[in-house]
């Protein structure tokens, strides 16, 4: 994997701690990112005020706040933050569609996402950011 010139800061949010913490560990050890895991999206949002995340990876359906709401509100604070949603529920498509009609579009990965694929997606996203795509 290509090395980013700067250590990217990643927030991983999932109401299931095992998922959030293992993914954060993988991102730290395999991706070389500065990854932090949260089980409560509200806490992740609070943390975004003190830290500057480059990427948010979040579950969509969570009890406190939906991942889409989290992404929208986090972007209000950190407009440059990239977002990757991942969900195991079909209903997510409807939430995503609702968000899209109100002007917010996000990339969605389906659970279970293989860690290797996740790393590839992140790399793709961050490389795009560094060398803006003409297609965009």
């Amino acid at each position: 994997m290509s090395q980013s010139p700067k250590l990217l800061r990643v927030f991983v949010v999932d109401d299931e701690d095992v998922i959030a913490s293992t993914l954060a560990a993988i991102l730290r050890f395999q991706g070389g990112f500065h990854a932090t895991s949260f089980t409560d999206p509200v806490k992740a949002l609070q943390a975004a005020h003190t830290e500057v995340p480059d990427l948010l990876i979040t579950d969509v359906v969570m009890p406190q706040m939906s991942g889409i709401d989290l992404a929208i509100r986090l972007r209000e604070v950190r407009p440059d933050c990239k977002v990757l949603l991942f969900s195991g529920q079909a209903a997510t498509a409807d939430l995503l569609e609702a968000a899209r009609t109100s002007g917010h579009t996000f990339e969605l990965l389906a659970k279970p996402v293989h860690p290797a694929d996740l790393l590839a997606s992140i790399r793709n996203l961050t490389e795009d950011a560094q060398t803006p795509s003409p297609q965009k």
Binding site: L23, G88, A90, A93, E107, L108, P112, H114, P115, D128
Partner: protein, 610 residues
């Protein structure tokens, strides 16, 4: 009810006319009798007058002959004289008889006799004197004026009697005229009544004929209407009489039973409409018979099949009802039925769809519940594998576990696909996509030593969700891999064929397995149809068809060329006409990058694109 009433009316009309005519005949006859009576009295009177006149003439004749004899002495005058004298007495007798009815005249008769006798006696005396040679005495007797006087007396009496008769005559003429006018009046009156009666009756009858014609016309119109309605109706209709003998079949019934109306007419319903229980195959109770027995409408039992003329059977459904006359008497039975083959199919599809929906809901729930722990395990295994200094045996085991997890992930992904989340279309790199699917099945293909031939021609760009198209290709490759024997061959062809047109991508996936049995060919795209009872869900081809058709394409089973065994599936996907589609698609999702083609080089199945 109305017709007998009218008939009575007509009969009554005729009877009244007949009565009028009879009364007329009687009255006329009586009138004629009166008239004839009056006429005969009149004739009688005239006879009396005539007879009186004759008597007078006879006397005058006799007088003239007597005088001729006296003047000439020629005895040739005596013969007519005697003749006249001899007729006088019978005349008087005749007058007496004729006037028997009239007392006044009868009263005059003795006077008449006396005067006539006196005159006759005077003439006889004169003649006798002359013959006895005393012509002077005879002439003298004549000249004594007795002669004239006696004659005048006779004239007087006869004049009196004539007067009497003339008076009677005038009376009788009046009576006769009255009788005649009465007769004429009665004839006119009766004729007038009969005429009026006839006119009324004729009017009534004509009106009835007119009404009946109009009624008949209405009946014809209604009959035509019923005939057209019954002929046009989609349901089959058979009518029978009260013995169960067929009298009518509409075209729908003709086509269902395969018996023409002309052949069915007059035959028993059991022959024309043989029905059986679908399962026991015993003859089912004929609804016509049942209606005849119970006298009210009945429905067919469920699971009834009609055996057609050619021996095939069709499931039918419907009812029979009695046809009743005005008085409620049973005239026959009408049987209405229809072919429920399509209904059955529709119900079957409905059941399948319901099963599918239920399965889809269950699968989605299950998949979701499994996805979270799967995510954890997947991450943990990955972490464990990445551990530094891990024993190589452990890493090998973990790699195997990782492979198996990918399979589970693949299954849950596919299952979630049933309750589709919207997928973002992109321009597909078809050869790479096909390769990624083949790579997924590499283990299986290798274990059966299956050869995969690739004929990748130039592909037009196709705008679709790669996940969905991968699912389609994956289903077909998996089926082909299951079907072929060891060392079999699977051929994948990608091209723009001329027959499919330049605007379509043609994907052909063939295998050299046993092929699909003819009886299964109609069903393979139906949900839950599977020949792999142990492992198949029966959803693969159905889902593939749904996906392909959603993109405006088609998927079908085609015969393999050159008599080769095996199955061949042909998929047509419409090519995106130009890249503006892509731009439009990308424009709607500004944060999405249309993925560079060929990026799905790893195991793309754990990755949902959107």
């Amino acid at each position: 009810m109305r017709i007998p009433y009218k008939r009575i009316g007509v009969i009554a009309g005729f009877s009244i006319l007949l009565a009028i005519l009879i009364v007329n005949a009687i009255v006329t006859r009586r009138q004629l009798g009166l008239q004839v009576g009056a006429g005969s009295w009149l004739a009688h009177t005239r006879q009396v007058l005539f007879e009186l006149n004759q008597l007078e003439l006879l006397l005058v004749d006799a007088e003239a002959e007597k005088r001729g004899y006296l003047y000439t002495g020629d005895s040739k005058y005596l013969a007519p004289y005697q003749d006249a004298i001899s007729k006088i007495e019978p005349k008087i007798d005749a007058i007496t008889k004729l006037t028997m009815d009239n007392p006044d005249q009868q009263a005059m008769i003795p006077e008449l006799q006396k005067r006539v006798h006196a005159k006759v006696a005077e003439m006889a005396q004169v003649i006798a004197l002359y013959q006895s040679g005393k012509p002077e005495a005879a002439r003298e007797l004549v000249l004594t004026a007795t002669d004239l006087l006696l004659m005048d007396h006779v004239h007087l009496v006869i004049a009196q009697m004539e007067n009497q008769e003339t008076r009677l005559e005038s009376l009788r003429v009046t009576a006769y005229d009255r009788a005649v006018s009465q007769t004429i009046t009665s004839i006119y009156l009766a004729s007038l009544l009969a005429f009026v009666g006839l006119v009324l009756l004729a009017y009534y009858i004509l009106r009835e004929i007119d009404l009946r014609e109009r009624y008949a016309q209405e009946l014809r119109v209604r009959e035509e209407w019923f005939r057209v309605t019954l002929t046009s109706i989609g349901d089959a209709v058979i009518a029978t009489d009260k013995e169960g003998i067929v009298s009518f079949l509409n075209p729908a019934a003709e086509s269902l039973t395969e018996i023409r109306l002309a052949q069915a007419k007059g035959r028993n319903i059991f022959e024309v409409f043989p029905i059986f229980n679908e399962f026991t195959h015993k003859p089912a109770e004929n609804p016509v018979q049942k209606v005849l027995d119970v006298g009210r409408a009945v429905s067919l039992a469920n699971h009834t099949v009609l055996q057609r003329k050619d021996g095939t059977e069709i499931p039918i459904e419907d009812s029979a009802a009695p046809i009743r006359g005005d008085q409620g008497e049973l005239l026959g039975v009408v049987l209405v039925f229809r072919d429920v083959t399509n209904d059955r199919k529709a119900q079957e599809i409905m059941r399948k769809t319901e099963r599918l929906a239920a399965a889809a809901r269950l699968a989605a729930t299950m998949a979701h519940e499994i996805n979270n722990p799967l995510q954890s395990v997947s991450s943990l295994v990955y972490l464990a594998m990445s551990t530094r200094d891990a024993p190589s045996a452990v890493v090998q085991h973990l790699a195997l576990a990782d492979q198996e997890l990918k399979r589970v992930a693949h299954i849950t992904q596919q299952t979630l696909g049933f309750s589709r989340n919207s997928q973002i279309a992109e321009i597909l790199d078809m050869p790479a996509l096909v390769e990624s699917v083949i790579a997924l099945y590499s283990n299986k293909l290798q274990s059966k030593d299956i050869r995969v031939e690739r004929h990748f021609g130039e592909c037009p760009p196709v705008l679709a969700s790669s996940g969905e198209i991968k699912q389609v290709i994956s289903n077909l490759i998996a089926n082909a891999a299951d079907a072929v024997d060891n060392k079999g061959t699977i051929t994948v062809t990608l091209r723009c064929t001329e027959d499919s047109g330049p605007d379509n991508l043609h994907i052909l996936i063939e295998d050299d397995g046993p092929g699909i049995l003819p009886q299964h060919r109609q069903q393979i795209f139906e949900p839950f149809f599977t020949t792999k009872q142990e492992v198949g869900t029966g959803l693969g081809l159905w889902l593939s068809k749904q996906i392909v058709e959603r993109y405006g394409g088609s998927i079908q089973l085609i015969p393999r060329s050159r008599g080769v065994t095996g199955a061949a599936f042909s998929i047509l996907l419409p090519a995106s006409s130009n890249h503006s589609d892509v731009a439009a698609s990308a424009g709607e999702h500004p944060t999405f990058q249309p993925r560079p083609n060929g990026r799905i080089d790893n195991d793309g199945f754990t990755e949902k694109e959107k």
